[in-house]
């Protein structure tokens, strides 16, 4: 079980959290202008990163708030958690899918 550092509540066991999948996927501003391929990519295509991966979590059985975590999927070590609206740190942005 992971120990996850909620940016609002501090470290709590994984059982208190719900995973929200890959982070930083913005809903297209004008969905009607998208091609079918672009819409499918938004809905279904994921990086599935092997390495540093940015993902959403929700402290479902705690404060209830969403936040992001940067986790290495080869070790499951969470390098950092950060609030919604923040970007991953520059050193982390280097990680490609």
């Amino acid at each position: 079980m992971l120990l996850i550092n909620c940016p609002y509540c501090g470290p709590r066991p994984e059982a208190e959290f719900a995973n929200g999948g890959q982070a930083h996927i913005a809903r297209p501003a004008d969905p009607m202008s998208l091609t079918d391929d672009e819409w499918a990519a938004y809905l279904y295509m994921r990086d599935n990163t092997k390495g540093l991966h940015h993902e959403r979590w929700r402290h479902a059985n705690g404060c209830g708030r969403f936040f992001n975590a940067s986790r290495d999927t080869t070790t499951d070590v969470i390098k950092r958690t950060y609030r919604m609206g923040e970007r991953p740190e520059a050193e982390h942005q280097g990680a490609k899918p």
Binding site: L2, G21, D36, K50, D76
Partner: protein, 417 residues
């Protein structure tokens, strides 16, 4: 290939079992092949075998980064069934089940296919309705599946607790009698041996690090930890690592990789005569021929490549099993492990051509790929050999997510995934 038979066993027995040959060669990679299969699990080895045996393509290499069958093929709970809801799924899983029935004879290798019956338990009204719908849909597709009352479930599998004390009582079950188990290692070894005998090179400890393409776009080979190898066609069958390999060719797929765990108990005398599955309370259990109870747990909620998962996932499954089979409360668990499964949004596989010419992909089998091994390999071999999908795997494209033609077995399973 040294053929196995009662006579060869007797002869070897009289000479101290000293005369057995290696079951497959350990060749150096050739400069090039007609087809390279990336991934030496059951599906990849089966693909190579059927390419050589049915489709006349013998200049084939299987590249495996570790050892064959060391990934999910050797980590699953060996359940075989074909009672899926939708016609497309019924087609591909039943194709596999028919091949399982003759597989030991075809490969001259005992894969220990044991049609002991797969009993899927219903615990609420919704389950009952959903499973009865499955029974009817399966019968329309010519697949055996029947509804059992709680008493009939108890008769078929005596250790089950059908009393009224359970939080989720057993309200009945759907039984596929032709379902069962097979020995997973033997499946990998049997296919490897048979493919090798037809000239397929099985190259272990050979990780693909790049996919090379011509300026015109089509694939021309792979870079590996054992050097570059040319290939006219490449089939990627890399389970949890498929996204990583396909990224080398710039192809994005609707896949996420999750750890899925399994565990076995200490061995006990025969007590559990069939496979029991409960999607609702997440319990999957059968008894191996060694006597261990083989138990499947769920996936973790986060993507990972670690081949291990959280203990609370395993505990959750054991809670359910202790309710279902009270006699198992005193069993000790011996070992647990994880494998990385690649999951699609609709929980159906992708067995298809890709936007890159000469590159094919067989992935997305998620938490239930073992059962499909022979069928998956056979249709993938056909797709690679003919450069067009077989009618059985034609619906399992990447484009179905764009076109809305999903095969939603996730919804059909009627449980929270």
């Amino acid at each position: 290939m040294q053929k196995f038979s009662a006579l060869s066993l007797l002869r070897a027995g009289l000479t101290g079992h000293a005369g057995w040959q290696r079951q497959w060669r350990s060749p150096e990679p050739k400069p090039g092949y007609d087809v390279i299969i990336v991934g030496g699990g059951g599906h990849g080895l089966a693909t190579a075998y059927y390419l050589a045996s049915r489709y006349g393509v013998k200049n084939v290499a299987v590249l495996e980064k570790g050892w064959i069958g060391g990934g999910n093929t050797g980590r699953n709970t060996t359940i075989i069934r074909s009672n899926y809801l939708f016609d497309e799924s019924a087609g591909i899983y039943e194709h596999a089940l028919k091949l399982w029935e003759g597989l030991s004879q075809e490969l001259n290798y005992n894969v220990m296919y044991s049609p002991r019956g797969v009993l899927m338990l219903a615990h609420n009204i919704h389950d009952v309705q959903s499973f009865k719908r499955h029974v009817h849909a399966n019968r329309l597709n010519g697949i055996d599946n029947e509804w059992l009352s709680p008493e009939e479930c108890k008769e078929f599998c005596p250790p089950l607790n059908v009393g009224g004390s359970m939080r989720y009582p057993i309200l009945g079950g759907a039984l596929q009698r032709r379902g069962g188990t097979a020995r997973h290692d033997a499946v990998a070894w049997g296919y490897a041996r048979a493919a090798d005998a037809l000239g397929v090179d099985i190259i272990e400890n050979c990780e693909v690090t790049g996919i090379r393409r011509a300026p015109t776009g089509e694939v021309v080979g792979v870079d590996t930890t054992r050097g570059s190898i040319n290939a006219k066609r490449i089939g990627v069958v890399a389970a949890g690592n498929t996204s990583t390999v396909m990224n080398m060719a710039g192809v994005r797929l609707p896949l996420e990789s999750f750890p899925l765990q399994a565990l076995v108990s200490e061995p006990v005398k025969p007590i559990f005569p069939c496979v029991v599955m409960s999607n609702t309370i997440h319990a999957y259990i059968s008894q191996s021929d060694k006597g261990e109870m083989v138990i499947g747990a769920g996936t973790d909620v986060y993507t990972s490549y670690t081949q291990r998962g959280g203990l609370h996932i395993v505990n959750h499954t054991l809670d359910a099993i202790c309710e279902l089979v009270p006699a198992f409360r005193r069993l000790r668990m011996l070992r647990n492990w994880g494998g990385i499964v690649d999951v699609t949004p609709d929980r159906s596989p992708i067995v298809a051509k890709t936007p890159v010419s000469g590159l094919y992909v067989n992935c997305g089998w998620g938490t239930g790929g073992f059962k499909a091994t022979p069928g998956s390999g056979e249709v993938f071999a056909s797709t690679i050999a003919k450069d067009e999908p077989n009618k059985i795997n034609a619906p399992f494209t990447i484009e179905r997510f764009r076109d809305g033609a999903v095969i939603d077995e996730a919804a059909a399973a009627a449980v929270a995934h």
